[in-house]
């Protein structure tokens, strides 16, 4: 029982990170019908940006409060990663829109490889560590077989995720910008007839996806304390799986899918075997897709022109 509770806590933490990345996949797919294969690498880049800024703040500028440092890191990483992804869209995807269907996809794979190699070249192939932080724990239970603990960093991860998702939900559901995004997603030609600049709206979608990926990247760094150039791949694939599981195109679906993948992975590792935890997540995906082809919360039609 204690073990289960502990794994639940760990799974939700991990799932929050997947959920944040998954939103970027799902929004871009929703609006231009493209799987952005480079999104996992954008996440990885954001973790590096976070790392560099964190080190600069604490070691060069002497910021002593770790909370202040992380807050600044979060904002700066969101900003810079957004700028980065905005540029990627302009350079690598937009010129190919209206070209044959697979062109942007291939371009995205190329961008993924480029980002990975670029970071490897500039940052070196080894893991980049961060001093441990937020390692204090709260003992949720004590006296049993072992204590169930909740680390401060887990609280931070879940809390930051929850606050950002709430803000993000408000943005998409209640503001003119979010409405324009949903309109472009549903019928881009009609949106244009009403004066919506479709290209600009697509750009903003990439920016928003990158900002959330940057939050995920920063939290990932806080959680694991290390990041390497290849760290975009596995979380990226998992988050993409989460987006498909939740129903690609659906934002609540991406969050739900992220939490589910995080939980499945953690519980599988704890109770079955650490070796096949990735297989477990994909198996669940396959089973869900057999019975619900458009995912848990997906819309039936996903065909894009």
């Amino acid at each position: 029982m204690e073990n289960f509770l502990q794994q639940l806590i760990n799974g939700i933490t991990l799932g929050s990170i997947y959920g944040l990345i998954a939103i970027g996949y799902t929004m871009v797919f929703g609006i231009i019908g493209m799987v952005n294969f480079a999104h996992g690498d954008v996440f990885m880049v954001s973790a590096f940006i976070a790392l560099i800024i964190f080190l600069a703040l604490t070691q060069l500028l002497g910021v002593s409060s770790i909370y202040v440092a992380i807050f600044i890191v979060l904002l700066a990483s969101m900003l810079l990663t957004s700028l980065w992804n905005w540029t990627i869209e302009r350079v690598a995807y937009r010129p190919l829109r209206g070209s044959f269907r697979l062109a942007p996809l291939i371009s995205a794979i190329g961008m993924s490889i480029f980002l990975m190699n670029f970071v490897q070249a500039v940052q070196g192939p080894r893991n980049k560590p961060l001093p441990p932080m937020f390692n204090e724990v709260i003992h949720v239970t004590s006296g049993g077989a072992f204590d169930v603990t909740l680390a401060y960093k887990q609280i931070i991860i879940v809390a930051v995720t929850a606050v950002l998702l709430a803000g993000f939900w408000y943005l998409v559901q209640k503001t003119p910008l979010g409405r324009a995004q949903r309109a472009v997603e549903q019928d881009r030609r009609m949106a244009a007839l009403l004066g919506i600049d479709v290209d600009r709206t697509v750009s903003i979608t990439f920016v928003m996806g990158a900002a959330l990926a940057a939050v995920a990247g920063t939290l990932y760094l806080v959680n694991y304390g290390v990041v390497s150039f290849s760290d975009g791949f596995t979380p990226g694939v998992k988050a993409f799986t989460a987006a498909v599981l939740g129903g690609i195109g659906s934002i609540p679906g991406a969050v739900l899918g992220g939490l589910m993948i995080g939980l499945i992975e953690t519980l599988w590792a704890a109770y079955v075997s650490n070796d096949y935890k990735n297989v477990a997540a994909f198996s669940v995906l396959i089973i869900v897709l057999i019975f619900m082809p458009s995912g848990l919360l997906g819309k039936p039609e996903v065909e894009k022109v």
Binding site: P176, R179, A180, R182, Q186, D187, L193, L194, G195, I196
Partner: protein
């Protein structure tokens, strides 16, 4: 109420416009004028190029030749969203309601460009024209009836505060009573508010009765033009477009 004021000043003037889908020429040397304050209709059979003409004004497909002069300026080649910002609104073929948005949100999409402080007043204005929409405000666009969707498409276009309103087959698939209602609204908007309307229709009888002037399009080419009454009286129009109807 203001008396209708039709000027001979061209608001929209197409000169030798051609547009294509790939290698297929869909519009051939189209000359067409809409004067300020008029209702002008374009009638033609299915596939004649009516919707293409509407969309060409909005730049998709782009006019390959010719000029599209709107309020004295050539707008051929402008992207759709910039055309919309010049005060031209379109209720397109198939109505294109945002199916997963509420009626209210569909209307707000029409107000996307405008000054937010005038939105409330503009909403009241379209509710006065289409009271039904007010009753359906929270309903999803995709669940409306065809007639309601058409009302919403026109209302959404009006929310942009257009000076020129383009309507692509607003009567398509609607019950006669609803068609009459829609056409009455178009007449009111024109006579009472002075709105200039360019109306594409297969329903030639109603359209020609309503319009000040009309054009006939056949295979992408304008073959006839004249006042509504003139065109209605022509035997070839009666034979081709008014057979067995009305």
């Amino acid at each position: 109420m203001t008396a209708q004021s039709i000027s001979s000043e061209a608001m929209l003037d197409l000169r030798g416009v051609e547009s294509c889908y790939g290698n297929i020429v869909a519009l051939k040397k189209v000359d067409l004028t809409v004067n300020r304050g008029e209702i002008v209709t374009l009638i033609g059979a299915n596939g004649a190029g009516k919707s293409t003409l509407m969309m060409t004004i909005f730049g998709t497909p782009r006019a390959r030749k010719g000029q599209i002069i709107y309020e004295g300026r050539d707008i051929a080649g402008l992207p759709a969203h910039e055309v919309a910002r010049l005060g031209i609104a379109q209720s397109p073929e198939g109505r294109r309601i945002f199916a997963r948005m509420s009626v209210y949100e569909n209307l707000l999409m029409g107000a996307a460009l405008g000054d937010p402080s005038s939105t409330a007043g503009d909403l009241e204005r379209v509710f006065a024209i289409f009271p039904r929409l007010k009753e359906r405000l929270t309903q999803r666009g995709g669940t409306l009836s065809g007639g309601e969707q058409q009302m919403l498409a026109i209302a959404r276009a009006l929310m942009t505060r257009p000076r020129l309103l383009l309507l692509d087959e607003p009567s398509l698939g609607l019950a006669p009573l609803v068609v009459k209602q829609i056409f009455d609204v178009i007449r009111d908007l024109n006579r009472r508010d002075g709105l200039t309307v360019f109306l594409v229709e297969q329903n030639a009888y109603h359209a020609l009765r309503l319009a000040h002037r009309g054009y006939v399009i056949v295979n992408g080419r304008i073959t006839m033009s004249g006042t509504g009454a003139e065109l209605l009286a022509r035997p070839e129009i009666r034979a081709a477009y008014l057979e067995g109807g009305h």
